[in-house]
């Protein structure tokens, strides 16, 4: 069955052909457009939050602020960062990087996208029911006050979770069964390793979130009392269930980002990755440890001291495989021929921001200091440094790195670099002051604050505008590339992984002849 060689963008066109496409590359782009839309939405809520906090006093009613905060969190977590890298870049490049023609279950892949869309529509419909104001964590007993919007949101999260499980399942089967001849596990690109580790987390952790939100919905509909202290239930059990998923979910968000960074660091320093095996297996190690640390979210929720100390120690342990990755990236950079392209800038940005995020995590994992920092802006800053700084830097770097392959056009380097400058500086201007605010004792989640916190909050809000502006530039750079970029060659960056051995954009069947692999993924000499 020799292919026609036509690119996946040609052949059938029209909206319907995209909405029914089983091609993993088209599904990847479907995810790209939908996640970009959700990102815009979540971003607008973020800007509204920062606008309210620009100065003390209420600009919006407090209730409305609580909704901004909830939707910002829920949309960004469940509809942007979790599907982000795996569903967009993973879908597009995982099969290409292992020399496969598609993912294992193409129909299931498309179905996952429809599940996510259904969940998104449901989540947005909650706005019509008065909106959800519980925060993205849906803590009981506040979340069981029988509001229809909460019920619908719980089901939306359930279905989004289902989408995530099916994506993960698909990727695991793809990695196990569809590797090209010669592509042993130890020759897989590190991005594949990262997506693979993430997929394991998606399959194992997400079902627990599923049952948790299902119980939450039943609690709201039938008043079953499992989380309701008035009926003998335990609200802390909800927290255990929720974090049993949501801590691993943190790695569902960041492991793929680390995979992207591994690819970029080796490509743009034209050097074989340092410590391939260590980076590959540290992904699995992070995935494994991440199941044993959920209690660090509950140091002040009433758990035994023994449990708290155990969770504290295990949490610090995650730092080991994470540091292994970071040091290996640094060693890769050392004496490499570094090219300061946009993806490389985002890579360095990732390392800078993620390191600060990781280091400040130590303070939150230490029980004594956590008592001081918990529920302050320190936590908000830490979380955004690891998740937003980490994942967004990687997703932007990855997007520019792979854009020529995805659309077959080159982007304008100076415009793209400009997006990095604004996003990177804006990010630090927004979130660094929040570490200080948290340390000063400013509690998170409130719509108002004491006048003493005003100047740092103003700086933070100005930073948020810079981030917003940076993303507009990035959007412009992408549109400009698609509309008038010069045609991309097969391998513009001199990368060594398989996706660069096929046309840009790739043909529908990925490779006209199935590649045979004879060496590791980063043989730069």
């Amino acid at each position: 069955m020799a292919g026609s060689g036509k690119s996946y963008l040609e052949g059938e066109t029209g909206l319907w052909s995209w909405l029914t496409s089983l091609d993993h590359k088209r599904i990847g782009l479907l995810y790209f457009f939908s996640v970009a839309f959700f990102f815009l939405l979540g971003g607008i809520f973020a800007l509204l939050i920062r606008l309210e906090l620009f100065s003390p006093g209420a600009l919006f009613p407090a209730d409305m602020y609580n909704r901004f905060m909830t939707y910002h969190g829920a949309v960004m977590v469940f509809f942007v960062i979790i599907p982000g890298i795996p569903a967009i870049l993973g879908n597009f490049f995982l099969p290409l990087q292992i020399g496969a023609k598609d993912v294992a279950f193409p129909r299931l892949n498309l179905m996952s996208w429809y599940f996510l869309m259904t969940a998104a529509v449901m989540a947005l419909c909650t706005l019509l029911l008065g909106g959800v104001d519980t925060g993205w964590t849906f803590y009981t007993p506040y979340s069981i006050s029988f509001k229809p919007a909460t019920i619908l949101m719980a089901f939306a999260v359930f279905i989004a979770g289902f989408s995530s499980i099916l994506t993960g399942l698909n990727f695991i089967a793809t990695v196990h069964r569809l590797r090209a001849p010669g592509m042993t596990m130890n020759r897989m690109p590190l991005f594949v390793w990262a997506i693979y580790s993430t997929a394991i987390l998606q399959v194992l952790a997400t079902p627990v979130l599923g049952i948790t939100v299902l119980l939450l919905a039943m609690e709201n509909i039938f008043n079953i009392g499992i989380f309701d202290p008035a009926l003998g239930g335990d609200p802390v059990l909800f927290q255990h269930f929720f974090w049993f998923y949501s801590h691993p979910a943190v790695y569902i968000m960041v492991l793929p980002a680390m995979g992207v960074i591994s690819e970029l660091v080796t490509t743009y320093s034209r050097k074989t990755i340092f410590g391939y095996t260590a980076i590959a297996y540290s992904s699995l190690a992070i995935a494994a440890i991440s199941f044993l640390v959920w209690g660090h979210h509950m140091f002040t929720s009433g758990q035994s001291e023994v449990a708290a100390i155990t969770f504290s120690v295990l949490t610090m342990l995650v730092g080991v495989p994470t540091a292994i990755k970071l040091f290996n990236w640094l060693a890769t950079l050392y004496r490499g021929s570094i090219q300061m392209t946009t993806p490389m800038l985002y890579t360095l940005g990732f390392m800078f921001i993620f390191t600060i995020g990781g280091m400040t995590g130590i303070y939150l994992a230490t029980i004594a200091t956590d008592i001081h920092f918990h529920d302050t802006y320190f936590v908000v800053a830490h979380f955004h440094y690891v998740m937003v700084g980490g994942t967004l830097m990687a997703i932007m770097g990855g997007a520019f790195h792979w854009l020529p392959k995805m659309v077959g056009k080159m982007y304008n380097e100076s415009i793209a670099r400009m997006s990095f400058v604004f996003i990177f500086i804006g990010f630090n201007v927004t979130f660094f002051p929040q570490f200080v605010l948290g340390n000063m004792g400013m509690p998170r989640r409130y719509h108002d604050y004491l006048p003493a916190f005003e100047s740092l909050n103003k700086i933070s809000t100005i930073g948020s505008w810079m981030i917003g502006f940076g993303f507009l530039i990035a959007l412009y750079a992408i549109i400009q590339a698609i509309r008038s970029g010069s045609p991309a060659p097969m391998n513009p960056w001199g990368s060594k992984t398989l996706e660069w051995t096929t046309a840009s954009p790739p043909p529908h069947e990925n490779f006209l002849t199935t590649p045979t692999v004879t060496a590791g993924p980063y043989e730069f000499k």
Binding site: L108, L169, L231
Partner: protein
């Protein structure tokens, strides 16, 4: 039917029928793992509360009729056997026997659901309801409803799976009836079979936990 010998065309990204079969089967197993973890949450919750309120769970279990539970256990175990036969005869391409075995499996599922219906209506009648709705005997315990929250959540979620399983078996039954399965291609029956066995297995754990702890 001799037309059974025609080869099933595997999807373009696989190398062979076996390749497609093995991959699909792995997909089903992974899905089953996620199912186990979802039920796992309920089991963990059950164990914690049973530990916290042993009296409530003891009294609650006394309200269940273990004979009906045992009957359903036997029905489901038998249905697992007929499911295995359904897969076996599909693989042999024996259309008639495969359809019969699958039909009996669906019938067993229906019997299970009927028994559940009888049990549920009995509970509802006596006010043995979850959480705040509990109006039955309290035995001096303030949160007797908690046991029934778990009872209805666990059996309800399981019952939903039984219904879903019945629909899936009906789907493969119709395909088997068209003579679509043979030794080259019987992946859907195999996958649905695995799912059905998991549904049985979960009941095997639910039965002692809910009915026999008292």
């Amino acid at each position: 039917m001799s037309s059974n010998s025609q080869h099933h065309h595997f999807a373009h990204h696989f190398e062979s029928e076996e390749h497609e079969y093995a991959t699909s089967k792995e997909g089903v197993w992974l899905f089953l793992v996620s199912e186990i973890l979802m039920f796992g949450g309920l089991f963990v919750g059950y164990i914690i509360y049973q530990h916290m309120y042993p009296q409530v769970f003891h009294e609650g279990a006394m309200h269940l009729d273990w004979r009906l539970g045992a009957l359903n256990t036997i029905v489901l175990l038998f249905s697992s056997l007929t499911m295995v036969l359904g897969v076996h005869f599909s693989q042999l391409g024996d259309r008639k026997k495969a359809v019969t075995a699958l039909a009996i499996t669906i019938l067993c599922g229906a019997i299970f659901m009927c028994v559940k219906y009888i049990e549920y209506s009995h509970k509802i009648h006596e006010g043995l309801l979850p959480g705040a709705w509990y109006t039955g005997e309290t035995h001096g315990l303030s949160n007797m409803g908690l046991y029934f929250s778990f009872y209805f959540m666990m059996t309800g979620l399981h019952g939903t799976h039984v219904l879903g399983g019945m629909c899936l078996i009906l789907w493969v039954l119709l395909r088997a009836n068209k003579g679509e399965f043979n030794s080259h291609y019987y992946t859907p029956v195999e996958g649905v079979g695995l799912f059905w066995h998991l549904v049985d297995l979960i009941w095997i754990f639910l039965f002692p936990l809910l009915y026999l702890v008292g």
